[in-house]
Symmetry: C2
Subunit: 422 residues, 2 copies
């Protein structure tokens, strides 16, 4: 008997018929002797419907008070779907109960619309599990110390599921989604893309952060921190698929170093076009400049991704960074009003027509020639590289967004990713 956490996305919960199928699948696992906790997302379309209503009424300024109400509003989607799943399980003859985040409670900080989980109490859930109940816990939400409802940001249900699995020391957390696992790259761009049977936690972290939308990045961080065995698998297999077969399907995110040794060095190509590039030209090359620029951006609550500072000449340097495209206009305003006047710099140049393409793989830095192979491949396709950043397990480049598909396909081929995994 194991303690298993299932997480189902909005598509899987999209209609009463689909909820019934989820209930049947969960009941199958429970009848096989497992203690089951399920974290569902809101029914597909529901969160958008609610936020569209809010948008019609929204104040000009996005105050904290407004964000708080957005969380009150959006959290109802998961509360409703959780109750419906509990009801469907009862119809399957399973004793089942649903809890909103505050009822568990899942405690978070007070950063409305993007709160972070601080702790999860497990007494209530464990008592239910021991009494033979299937426990449904709303994804996406928690409660702060002042009893305000918070949400974890888009895709936060993945994080909820992993956090719940960590708190309960679950044997495995299964993320059911509309893809059947993690691929070497997006199959819509490269038809030869191949499903990975296993991927290391570190690679998954980079893939998620680099725009591979299979899992919310924070859920991967959580899984890594608490060593939660995590599997991504399809919710579109028939619910009555053989349970042993199902338990081995999808992609397992692993934490053991050993399994990595046999893998290819590059395990996937990630990409996204969510970012915009900002360059400040002619910045005085002296200590504190990076802080002066990025501190102001951070105060504006804008996340910065890549940061590049070139070697200066004549006491001046160029400073570039990328932000999410949604934050681009706000970041430019902020720089023009608050930063440029104090810098004595004359110009901030922006570009929203960029994309970021990355090769991801454990031990990349110790394998000579991986990065240069990437650069050569892009050069052979006539693609100009605008920015480069590297880490232990990835090399990312910023290029013109019109070359994105071409770059991904070329790199997928160059690194032999269509070959079957060892």
């Amino acid at each position: 008997m194991a303690l298993i956490v299932h997480k189902y996305g909005g598509t899987s919960m999209g209609s009463p018929e689909r909820i019934k199928n989820v209930a049947k699948r969960v009941a199958k696992w429970a009848r096989a002797g497992h203690q089951m906790v399920v974290v569902p997302s809101a029914m597909s379309g529901e969160t958008n419907r609610l936020l569209a209503l809010a948008k019609e009424l929204a104040p000009a300024k996005e105050t904290q008070s407004y964000m708080r109400e957005l969380d009150m509003l959006a959290s109802t989607g998961e509360q409703a779907s959780s109750a419906l799943l509990a009801i469907a399980l009862q119809s399957e003859g399973m004793d089942s109960v649903s809890y909103a985040g505050w009822q568990v409670p899942i405690r978070t900080d007070s950063a409305f619309t993007k709160a972070r989980i601080e702790s999860i109490e497990d007494d209530r859930v464990r008592a239910d599990l021991n009494a033979g109940r299937v426990v449904i816990i709303t994804g996406f939400q928690g409660v702060d110390e002042s009893r305000n409802i918070t949400t974890l940001g888009r895709g936060g249900s993945d994080t909820s599921a992993v956090a719940v699995a960590a708190a309960l020391k679950a044997d495995e957390c299964l993320i059911y989604t509309d893809v059947d696992g993690v691929y070497t790259t997006d199959p819509r761009v490269v038809p030869e893309a191949r499903r990975l049977k296993t991927v290391s936690f570190e690679e998954m972290l980079e893939m998620a952060s680099l725009g591979s939308k299979v899992l919310q990045i924070r859920s991967v961080e959580f899984a890594g921190k608490y060593k939660v065995p995590l599997r991504v698998l399809s919710s579109f297999t028939p619910w009555d698929i053989n349970i042993q077969e199902e338990a081995k399907s999808g992609t397992l995110i692993t934490f053991e170093e050993d399994t990595q040794m046999e893998q290819a060095v590059v395990s996937g190509i990630a990409f996204n076009r969510d970012e915009a590039k900002i360059s400040i030209i002619g910045v005085p090359d002296k200590p504190g400049i990076a802080y002066q620029i990025l501190g102001a951006v951070a105060e504006g609550n804008i996340e910065v991704d890549m940061i590049i500072q070139n070697i200066g000449k004549d006491g001046h340097t160029d400073f570039s960074f990328t932000v999410h495209r949604n934050d681009y206009a706000r970041a430019m305003d902020l720089l023009k009003v608050k930063v440029l006047p104090t810098l004595g710099s004359t110009e901030a140049i922006g570009d929203t027509k960029i994309c970021k393409v990355s090769i991801v793989g454990i031990g990349m830095r110790s394998h000579v020639g991986i990065a240069s192979k990437m650069f050569r491949t892009l050069s052979e396709e006539g693609i100009n590289i605008q920015m480069i950043s590297t880490s232990e397990i990835k090399t990312s480049v910023v290029i013109d967004e019109k070359y994105m598909e071409l770059a991904v396909r070329s790199l997928h081929k160059a690194f032999d990713l269509e070959q079957v995994q060892a």
Copy 2:
């Protein structure tokens, strides 16, 4: 400066446009210097939409676990509308915050789908009011001692509003609804029906219990118990109507005995066709019979309204009572299986084609001839009376439902209710 509670029904909250109008109206009251608490219902149609989803998934048996999930589900409607109203108020430049029942908290018992309010903590709300915030509190719901969400039953938002007004010792509770007050009877049946400027709490209680659907009966009980000045008024007046005029519109439910003296003895005609009649023929006329019959019915959780026991002859009597039509079939089964065999009575006769018509008025019993005038009026129209029951302030008769409109119109005219109120 007064502390005012507003309650808005689902129709008033039915679209973003309407929510904006509610926000403008509330902002007008706040700007006039009042401390404002608002209790909204779910957007019209939302509760039905949610319960229809539940119905598609519902188990065969309505267990407590199922009822609990229904409350988890249905309560989301008010949480969403409350957040939307807070957002709309913020757009109007008002500082505003919404609370779900559990956040206040509004404590109830654990009778899912029909919980009763036990207490309301006012610290948090009062602190917000003192800080100049408009406080929105979800109608219809509370939390039990085990941190389960409960709901108060259909129309429960009226009760929430009155209970909140009582807890905060509000100066007045204004129930905005789709009628502009309490009428002498339903204007759809009697076009000459007249709006009452005031109605006593006791009369309102009878009107509500007798099927006048303006207010949920429990909200009237609450208002009476805690002497909450309660006004029913229209939400369809323009939001920018003069506030002094608005404050005097609708119908005020009063608690002072004095104001009743000047009123006509009969203030309204109430009616409903929600009930069914059950008669048990040839019951042994001995002590304990009523309990033997109605005890079994009560154990089946079926509410009984009118109860009539005729004088017995030959040691036997006939025993009749009415139940809600929805409970009729179940009540008949229960009697046949559990009660008749032990009574030695041979027959239970049922009739679902009945209606109840009542005249309501303070001090009715002390005014000779009121009841007999009612009976004469019905007799003149050739309407046969099947059951009669009386109280201090009402006389009710059960008649064939096909005569309902005729009876109501005749009585309205006979008691001069179309005349303007003194």
